[in-house]
Structure formats: structure tokens, C-alpha cells
């Protein structure tokens, strides 16, 4: 015991073995991280190799020269889908978040008799599997003439997102002081103006969470997209499937396409991410 002097640092008394334990812990974490990042590594380097260099044997090797040729090859095939997805996912997530905010506000801060029952019904929507509503949805959209274009798809995503966005905003607003809403009432604001001037300005963290969530799920959706839109309105997930699903798979192209297809969700996360955890915590601790 006397052989090792107590490690010192930061004014805290630590065990003499602390340094070794810490080192071991970081080594283990690093090893695990490497393991989990292997597919990402494969994706990245394959996408960045020149097409002539791609082979299954040299899959793990670092490319001789970085090349963007793969992207140039797949981009024409993806461009239309990419545009469609942007045109669909952005409005779908914004609208769904706004409506969810209105729902959440009314269900937590401007309550009406039966609010909890209404909330339970809305939440129920979260647990209905896609497949169960597929056929009736297809029929409704056909009858109403919304099938084929993007509007129908946007509508479906807005509605399908409502349960989760309502949940997010209800939890968030539940954590807000009741007196704030009452102050607005006494100051002369009705429901709409309290929502617009008092509740919405303090909701950006909840918006970040709802937007990330909604954008990701609308962007990644394949089933509704392939079902409800015509070929010229297919979202990028369908286009991606068509590339990866060809007879002989040029996997460099698949990798490049996949990378392109996931960039927007990464971008949204990077832009809104710093609110994400805060928003989740705000929702988690109260209500």
C-alpha cells in the first residue's frame, strides 16, 4: 500500500489507482467506439474512393486519392428524389410542430373539460402501426384526389406526427409556471394571443426537439412515399432503394447515395441539436 503515493490533482483526494483506472476506462471506450464506427468508416471511405479502386478485397484500405466521382455518378439519379424530400419534409415538420405546439398548449395550459381524455386519444395515434392504416389511407387519399402529389404526403406526415409533437409540447408547457399564463390573461390576452405572444416565444427548445424528430421521420419514411406518390414525386428513400436494389449492386454508388441521403438529417441535428437535450430534459423532468 505504501508503494504508490496518493495521486494528486484538482485539489481532490483520489485513490492511488485512479490514473490507471481512468486510462483503462478510456481504452475500453475507445475500442467500443471503433467497433461501432466500423460501418461508418466503410461507408465513408468507399464513397470517397474512385470507382476503379473499389473492390471487396480492398474494402478496408484507405483510398489512394480522395475522389468525388461516386457522388457525381449517383447525384443525377437522386436529385429529383432529394428535391421532393426537401419539399415534403420541411413543411411537414414545421406544420406538425406548430400544430403540436397549439395542441400541447391547450392540453396543458388552457385546459378544457376532458382535456386528459383528448390527450389520451391523440397519444393513441402513436401506437397504431403504419401497416394497419395503409389501405384505408390509400383509399381516402385516392378518393380525395390527394394521391400522387406531395401535398397528400405532407398531410399524412403532419397528421402522423401530431401525437409525438403534441406530447413533446404538452410536456414542455406543463413545466411552465401557471402564473405566467395567468399574468397574460389578466393583462388582457385571450387564448390565441397568450399562445402567440407568451407561450410560443419560450418554446424554441421544444421546437428543436419536435423539428428534429419530425424531419428525421418524414425524411426517412419509405412506405408512405412509395405508396402515395407518383414516380416523379418519389422521395429520396425510394430513389435510394432503386439504386441499392438493382440486380448487380455497385456498392460504391450505394454508399455514396446513402451518404447523400442522410446529410440533411445530420444537418438538421447539427443546427438544432444544442436545443435537443435541453428540450428533452425540460420535457422529462416536469409533467
Amino acid at each position: 500500500m505504501t508503494a504508490v503515493p496518493p495521486a494528486r490533482g484538482h485539489g481532490r483526494i483520489r485513490s492511488p489507482w485512479a490514473n490507471y483506472v481512468t486510462t483503462a476506462r478510456y481504452l475500453a471506450l475507445f475500442a467500443l467506439a471503433c467497433f461501432f464506427l466500423m460501418p461508418v468508416y466503410a461507408l465513408l471511405i468507399t464513397a470517397l474512393k474512385s470507382p476503379s479502386e473499389v473492390s471487396v478485397v480492398r474494402m478496408w484500405q484507405w483510398p489512394h486519392a480522395l475522389s468525388l466521382d461516386n457522388f457525381a455518378i449517383v447525384w443525377p439519379k437522386l436529385r429529383e428524389g432529394f428535391t421532393n424530400s426537401v419539399l415534403m419534409a420541411l413543411p411537414a415538420s414545421v406544420l406538425s410542430s406548430l400544430l403540436g405546439a397549439a395542441n400541447g398548449f391547450v392540453l396543458s395550459k388552457w385546459r378544457f373539460p376532458g382535456a386528459d381524455f383528448a390527450f389520451a386519444l391523440i397519444l393513441f395515434g402513436m401506437f397504431i402501426p403504419y401497416q394497419a392504416v395503409l389501405i384505408p389511407m390509400f383509399q381516402v387519399m385516392s378518393y380525395s384526389g390527394l394521391r400522387g402529389g406531395l401535398y397528400g404526403l405532407i398531410l399524412v406526415h403532419v397528421i402522423y406526427g401530431l401525437p409525438i409533437t403534441t406530447l413533446i409540447f404538452r410536456s414542455y408547457f406543463a413545466g411552465i409556471s401557471e402564473e405566467l399564463i395567468e399574468a397574460a390573461k389578466v393583462d388582457g390576452a385571450g387564448m390565441l394571443r397568450t399562445f402567440v405572444f407568451v407561450a410560443l416565444p419560450i418554446a424554441p427548445p421544444a421546437f428543436a426537439v419536435a423539428m428534429i424528430w419530425q424531419f428525421t421521420s418524414a425524411w426517412n419514411d419509405f412506405l408512405f412515399g412509395v405508396l402515395l406518390t407518383n414516380k416523379d414525386r418519389w422521395p429520396i428513400t425510394v430513389a435510394l432503394n432503386n439504386i441499392a436494389g438493382s440486380q448487380a449492386v455497385p456498392f460504391n454508388e450505394a454508399m455514396a447515395s446513402a451518404l447523400l441521403a442522410c446529410l440533411p438529417t445530420l444537418l438538421v441535428y447539427v443546427l438544432l441539436g444544442r436545443f435537443f437535450m435541453r428540450g428533452l430534459m425540460a420535457g422529462a423532468l416536469k409533467g
Binding site: 409556471s177 402564473e179 405566467l180 395567468e182 399574468a183 397574460a184 390573461k185 389578466v186 393583462d187 388582457g188 390576452a189 385571450g190 390565441l192 394571443r193 402567440v196 405572444f197 407568451v198 416565444p201 419560450i202
Partner: protein, 407 residues
């Protein structure tokens, strides 16, 4: 989309461009009751008439319904029965946003994303006051309250005292017919509270707006209120000036609640023109209405009704001090009586409300303990026999069963 359906409120707000003095309105509560879902009666058959321009305080222990009354006047809580009038208007079922009242909340409830200026202007903006008028009024109130350097700040960048002032300013800017204040000083530290208390009185004197102020602190109630309404269990106990509450409490609860240090109590018997308690006997003054009575009572004596021995016409009591508190000019002397402590629901509620319930260091105080105020130059020592005198005209008697004052 945003409804502007408050023409009445808007025009009346615009009309009141000058000082608020002439607009002060009285408030009348008639048989107001509030029953919460689940059957709890928070307020029962409350009658209260508040004069225009009056500063009244609602005070009582927690759960006595004082905040509920305030919130019913604001319209934040529905009235179960009875009616509420603001001036001559029946506002019982009027929406809060249509009532011309301003409220200061305990948490201040400042809008976090708005600057101080926007916070203060919000109520005017919602009522459609023109921009120029808003700016003028915010500037005037900001000058009065010393908020000018803070106008562009957000609430998060303000200290507690500054937030409190902004909350006040937000109410004053509105020039409402009534101010409602829900424990607005409870988040300030003790020293600041005393300062702000005095300023509140000054401000009310200047603005002359009818004010209803809720607190659980009886000292705050006494110092601020022109009249004080004491509530307990949703019932009005007494509505009177601080002096009247102090001198003529209607029951044991009010007597125990009002005054600091609080009134001393002991069980006693009245017979033959004398009141007897714990081995002492005091002759009642001949004009006392109880001089011919023969009954059990609870005797109450204020600490200030005592004096050093030898005052002409006063009764004398031989006691043994157990605690002496020096206050400079005077001292409080505590002694025990050979009689059980008076422990009724009323006294317990009153002491709970004073916040001393679970602060007892020595919980086995089974005997009645008296506190008396004596001059500091009177020689005395702990445990040594001492004779104090007692003004027999300042004795209070309460019915042991009902707790009401016997007169």
C-alpha cells in the same frame, strides 16, 4: 385571427390617459363561495365591501382561502356561488382579460422573452392602446420606479428586487381600477421587504388605486392595510382596521394571530367578580360586563398589558422568569404558569400561520407560558422571583367552546 373584441376595455383604457386616481373603483363580494372539484370549500359565504381607493389586506394561515378570493376577483378562478361587483358592474362571470384589474404575482410572472419595456407595455398592447401612449406611460412609470436603466433588459438579467419592481410597474402602467397583489414581497429578503413595504404604502397614497393584498404575514397585514380581513378555513373572521383587530379581536383566532409577540392565553374561571387562573386571582374592574358572571373562560393578555410592580390600580403577579430577551429599550420576559397550555384549534391555527409550529426546540411545553414586555432598566434575573403588574382593563375573555370573545 387575433380578436380585438374588447371595445369596452380598450376605450376605457384609452380614456384613462392621466393619473389613475379618479378611476379607482370599489369591490363588493356578496355571499361568495368557492367549492373546488372534489368538494373542498375554499371560501364560504364571504361578504366584503371594499371602498374605492382603499388598501385592504387578506390575511390568514395557508389554505384559508385568501388567494382564492384574490383569484376570483381577478377572474382566474370561477365563483361557485355569490356575486362580485367592481364598481357598479357585476363581473362575476366576466373573463379575466375583460376585467380592468392588474395583478402582481408571487413569482412576478414576467414574460421571459420580452424586455422590461415590452413586459410593461404588454397589457396596454393587448388592450389596443396606441403606441405613442404606451411609450409615454411606460416611460413615466419607469421614471417613478427607477427602472429606466433596465428597460432594454430581459427578466433573467435582473435581480430579485428589480424583478419585483418590474412586476409592480407592469401593473401600474395599466392604470387599472384595482390592483391585486398575491404575496408580492415573499420572495424578497427580510430587509428589502421592510423597505418595499413602506414604499408600497407611499405608492398607494400617491396613486389611490383600490388595492387587495394577500399575505400570510400578520405584520405585513397590519403595516400595509387600511383595513384587514382575517380569514380562516374559508370564512371571514373579522374585517376591520389594524387598530380594531388588535384592540377588539372578535375571537380567539384573531386574538392569537394578530400582534407580535402574540397574546398570552390561560384557562381561567370567573366567579365573584374575580378571574382566577393558576393560583392567581385578579379583581375585575367594576364596569366589566363579566363582573357578575360565573363561568369557565380562556383569559387572554397582551405582553404589553404588563408593567413593573407598583402601578396604581393594576393587579400584581409573582412570577419566576425562565427566559429573558433583551431588545435594548425594553425586554421580553417569559415565565410559566401552573396551568396547562391553552391548545385549541384556533390557537393552533394561529400559531401555525405565524410559522412557529415546528420550530419548537423544547416540545414538552405543557404549561402555559406568558411573555411580558418590561422596561430594560427593571432589575431582574433568570429564576429569581419577580413581581409584575397587570392592567385589569386589558384582559380579554373567550368562550372555551366557541372561541368567541366574551364582552
Amino acid at each position: 385571427m387575433m380578436s380585438m373584441s374588447e371595445p369596452a376595455a380598450a376605450t376605457s383604457a384609452a380614456a384613462a390617459s392621466s393619473l389613475a386616481r379618479p378611476r379607482a373603483a370599489g369591490i363588493r363580494l356578496e355571499q361568495v363561495g368557492k367549492r373546488f372539484r372534489g368538494g373542498v370549500d375554499a371560501v364560504r359565504e364571504l361578504d366584503l365591501a371594499i371602498e374605492p381607493g382603499e388598501f385592504i389586506v387578506l390575511v390568514g394561515p395557508s389554505g384559508c382561502g385568501k388567494s382564492t378570493v384574490l383569484r376570483m376577483i381577478a377572474g382566474l378562478e370561477e365563483v361557485t356561488s355569490g356575486r362580485i361587483f367592481l364598481g357598479s358592474d357585476d363581473i362575476t362571470s366576466e373573463l379575466p382579460q375583460r376585467r380592468d384589474v392588474a395583478m402582481v404575482f408571487q413569482s412576478y410572472a414576467l414574460y421571459p422573452r420580452m424586455t422590461v419595456r415590452k413586459n410593461m407595455a404588454f397589457g396596454l398592447r393587448m388592450r389596443g392602446t396606441p403606441r405613442a401612449e404606451r411609450d409615454r406611460r411606460v416611460a413615466a412609470v419607469a421614471r417613478t420606479l427607477g427602472l429606466e436603466p433596465l428597460l432594454e433588459r430581459r427578466p433573467a438579467a435582473l435581480s430579485g428586487g428589480q424583478r419585483q419592481r418590474v412586476a409592480m410597474g407592469r401593473a401600474i402602467v395599466r392604470e387599472p381600477r384595482v390592483f391585486l397583489m398575491d404575496e408580492p414581497l415573499s420572495n424578497l429578503d427580510a430587509k428589502l421587504r421592510v423597505t418595499v413595504r413602506a414604499q408600497l404604502t407611499q405608492l398607494h397614497h400617491r396613486l389611490g388605486v383600490t388595492t387587495v393584498y394577500v399575505t400570510h404575514d400578520q405584520i405585513e397585514a397590519m403595516t400595509l392595510g387600511q383595513r384587514v380581513a382575517v380569514l380562516r378555513d374559508g370564512r371571514l373572521q373579522q374585517f376591520a382596521t389594524p387598530q380594531a383587530l388588535f384592540r377588539e379581536p372578535v375571537n380567539l383566532f384573531v386574538a392569537a394571530f394578530i400582534g407580535s409577540p402574540s397574546m398570552n392565553f390561560v384557562s381561567a374561571t370567573i366567579a365573584g367578580g374575580q378571574v382566577r387562573f393558576a393560583g392567581h386571582a385578579i379583581a375585575l374592574p367594576p364596569d366589566s360586563p363579566l363582573v357578575t358572571a360565573d363561568r369557565e373562560v380562556i383569559l387572554g393578555v397582551r405582553p404589553t398589558a404588563f408593567g413593573p410592580a407598583g402601578v396604581a390600580g393594576w393587579a400584581e403577579l409573582a412570577v419566576k422568569p425562565v427566559v429573558i430577551e433583551e431588545l435594548g429599550d425594553e425586554r421580553y420576559v417569559f415565565f410559566d404558569l401552573e396551568a396547562p397550555r391553552v391548545d385549541t384549534e384556533a390557537t393552533r391555527a394561529a400559531f401555525d400561520a405565524r410559522g412557529s409550529d415546528d420550530a419548537l426546540l423544547l416540545p414538552d411545553e405543557a404549561r402555559a407560558r406568558f411573555t411580558v414586555r418590561l422596561p430594560a432598566d427593571l432589575p431582574l434575573a433568570l429564576g429569581q422571583a419577580l413581581t409584575v403588574s397587570l392592567d385589569p382593563r386589558r384582559l380579554y375573555f373567550f368562550d372555551p367552546r366557541t372561541g368567541s370573545t366574551l364582552a
